[in-house]
């Protein structure tokens, strides 16, 4: 089932000073299926953050369309339904926490929806449990680590019970431990709760497990496919200012030297079995 569908989607930031118009998103046609884990990869300035904001009507299309289920994002009457369906976690952990304590912040979304107090309490407790922050519910934001802050943000989104969670570079300001925390929770949400995840990032390591990868460059889709399909194109990915997994890179270099190895090695284990195979032929 299609949960988010865009067609020839374009968006331009109006730059008043220079009067120049640069297409941040350029004719993007993309369909996201319910339950998928999609990673959107792209360098800084590729338009990926802009695309994210078009998914939940924070920005509206200049050309083309965005549908969330059957809601058109440019239809004002659907706005709040869309925002209930598509939740978003932003890059800066501090700049999205409003509450004076963890539980106050997680309650923000349900409070906006006018839920009654007892139900809000339940949603807050459930969400905090899922992200593992139940013991920290009364803590103030400045006492939290980066990873805990982002978990609070995720809990705040979960409390609205959306069908899609968009991570807009949500790990880029975290240390490796924090990043692992977030990716673990997000993968769990996808596998166990069936929540569709759209992970906007430039950190290639996070994308290796996704169902699909979409690579954006200069606002256009350059590549779509499974991680295996996408990471084969090492040269093109490099040209777009991105990384491939170190192992993939190594095997690409080996191929250049004439050693006949597989194109789509993504993990060290695959690398080892590939070498084992190849040595049989030598």
């Amino acid at each position: 089932m299609d949960i988010i569908k865009t067609g020839e989607l374009s968006f331009t930031y109006k730059n008043e000073e220079e009067n120049s118009l640069s297409r941040a998103v350029d004719e993007v046609t993309l369909t996201i299926n319910k339950g998928e884990f999609v990673s959107v990869l792209g360098r800084n300035g590729s338009g990926k953050s802009t695309l994210a904001k078009l998914f939940n009507a924070l920005l509206l299309p200049d050309e083309g369309f965005v549908y969330v289920y059957s809601y058109d994002t440019s239809d004002k009457t659907c706005l709040w339904e869309i925002r209930k369906t598509v939740g978003m976690v932003f890059q800066n952990p501090d700049n999205q926490i409003i509450g004076t304590t963890v539980e106050e912040d997680v309650a923000f979304g349900p409070e906006n929806m006018g839920m009654e107090s007892a139900l809000i309490r339940q949603r807050v407790d459930d969400s905090l449990r899922v992200v593992g922050l139940s013991e920290h519910s009364k803590k103030e934001p400045h006492m939290l680590s980066g990873g805990q802050k982002q978990r609070t943000a995720i809990a705040g989104i979960l409390a609205i019970m959306p069908d899609v969670i968009v991570l807009d570079e949500a790990t880029s300001m975290l240390d490796p431990a924090g990043r692992k925390e977030i990716m673990r929770i997000v993968k769990k949400l996808n596998k166990e709760e069936g929540i569709t995840i759209i992970n906007i990032t430039h950190i290639m390591d996070e994308t290796v497990d996704s169902d699909r990868i979409v690579i954006l460059d200069k606002g256009r889709i350059k590549c779509v496919g499974t991680p295996r399909e996408v990471f084969k194109n090492v040269e093109e990915i490099r040209k777009m200012g991105l990384d491939v997994p170190q192992i993939t890179d190594l095997f690409y270099e080996l191929r250049k030297e004439g050693i006949c190895v597989r194109e789509d090695v993504l993990t060290p284990e695959e690398g080892i079995s590939c070498i084992r195979e190849m040595l049989k032929w030598v």
């Binding site: 904001k53 939940n56 924070l58 709040w80 925002r83 209930k84 939740g87 978003m88 932003f90 800066n92 501090d94 700049n95 999205q96 926490i97 409003i98 509450g99 004076t100 304590t101 539980e103 106050e104 309650a107 923000f108 979304g109 349900p110 409070e111 906006n112 929806m113 006018g114 839920m115 009654e116 107090s117 809000i120 309490r121 807050v124 103030e140 934001p141 400045h142 006492m143 705040g156 989104i157 609205i160």
Partner: protein, 267 residues
């Protein structure tokens, strides 16, 4: 570095004061402070102090916290005492040559000093037993009738909450920026007042710029979570009046009235 210091002066507890509705406490505090201003006789202040001590014991908050609240105004108290002792005209009690101490001066000084002390301790009772978020919730509810007249009570309460939330973050950020500028040779300590004020520009400008960005990001995050203003918003924690509030408000009203009457008639 501020990682473990909590915001505000709130001290955790389970006393009657802790459990009462913030609205009751806010109104009680205002009432008590108003009464303090009307008292003219030193005996009245002493009686009031006694009653306040009873309240402190009900709050089960260790005395040291209440005393701590006086530290910031200690200088003010001493200053007030000295000024009044030496400048009020009247029956001279002590002559030191260039200045003289009068009886009226002493009485006035004691009165004013006690007034200051009682005001601060009364206010402290509020902040020691009420969390910042409870305070803003209470104030928001109290201001609500005004919103029918167009007064933005929800927006103001939200602004107060956000400000409270970000004070520790801003303190950390200021620290970081100061360190970064010091590493480039900035000097915040030497020079006269003007020079020192100027030296803060490399700290203030980035702070402000970051704050604008922050406000922008926050607004977007709030919208993404369905914020559409105060209409129809509910709260995680609802405020309810209970028997405790009845008890507290009755106690405060009666005792405040009693002291007031005593002051005007007997003392």
């Amino acid at each position: 570095m501020l990682g473990n210091i909590t915001l505000g002066q709130y001290v955790t507890g389970d006393s009657i004061l802790h459990r009462s509705d913030p609205r009751t406490k806010i109104i009680a505090t205002i009432l008590m402070m108003a009464v303090i201003f009307t008292l003219s006789n030193i005996m009245s202040y002493i009686v009031f102090s006694f009653l306040l001590t009873v309240m402190i014991s009900y709050s089960r908050i260790p005395l040291k916290y209440t005393i701590k609240g006086l530290k910031p105004i200690l200088f003010l108290i001493i200053f007030t005492v000295i000024i009044n002792i030496f400048t009020i005209k009247g029956e001279v009690v002590l002559d030191i040559g260039f200045a003289s101490v009068t009886r009226e001066g002493i009485y006035t000084a004691i009165r004013l000093a006690m007034r200051l002390i009682l005001l601060v301790i009364t206010a402290s009772m509020l902040t020691l037993t009420t969390t910042p978020v409870n305070l803003t919730d209470g104030m928001e509810k109290l201001m609500m009738p005004l919103s029918r007249l167009g007064f933005p009570s929800h927006e103001i309460a939200l602004m107060m909450t956000i400000a409270l939330r970000f004070i520790p973050t801003l303190v950390e950020e200021t620290d970081k920026i100061m360190k970064a500028q010091k590493s480039r040779g900035a000097d915040f300590e030497s020079g006269n007042i003007v020079e020192r004020a100027k030296s803060f520009l490399p700290v203030l400008v980035p702070l402000f710029v970051n704050s604008f960005k922050r406000a922008d990001d926050l607004a977007i995050a709030m919208e993404a979570r369905g914020y559409k203003g105060g209409e129809g918003r509910t709260k995680l924690r609802e405020l309810h009046f209970t028997r405790i509030d009845l008890f507290l408000s009755t106690a405060v009203i009666l005792t405040a009235a009693a002291v007031f009457v005593l002051d005007k008639t007997f003392f």
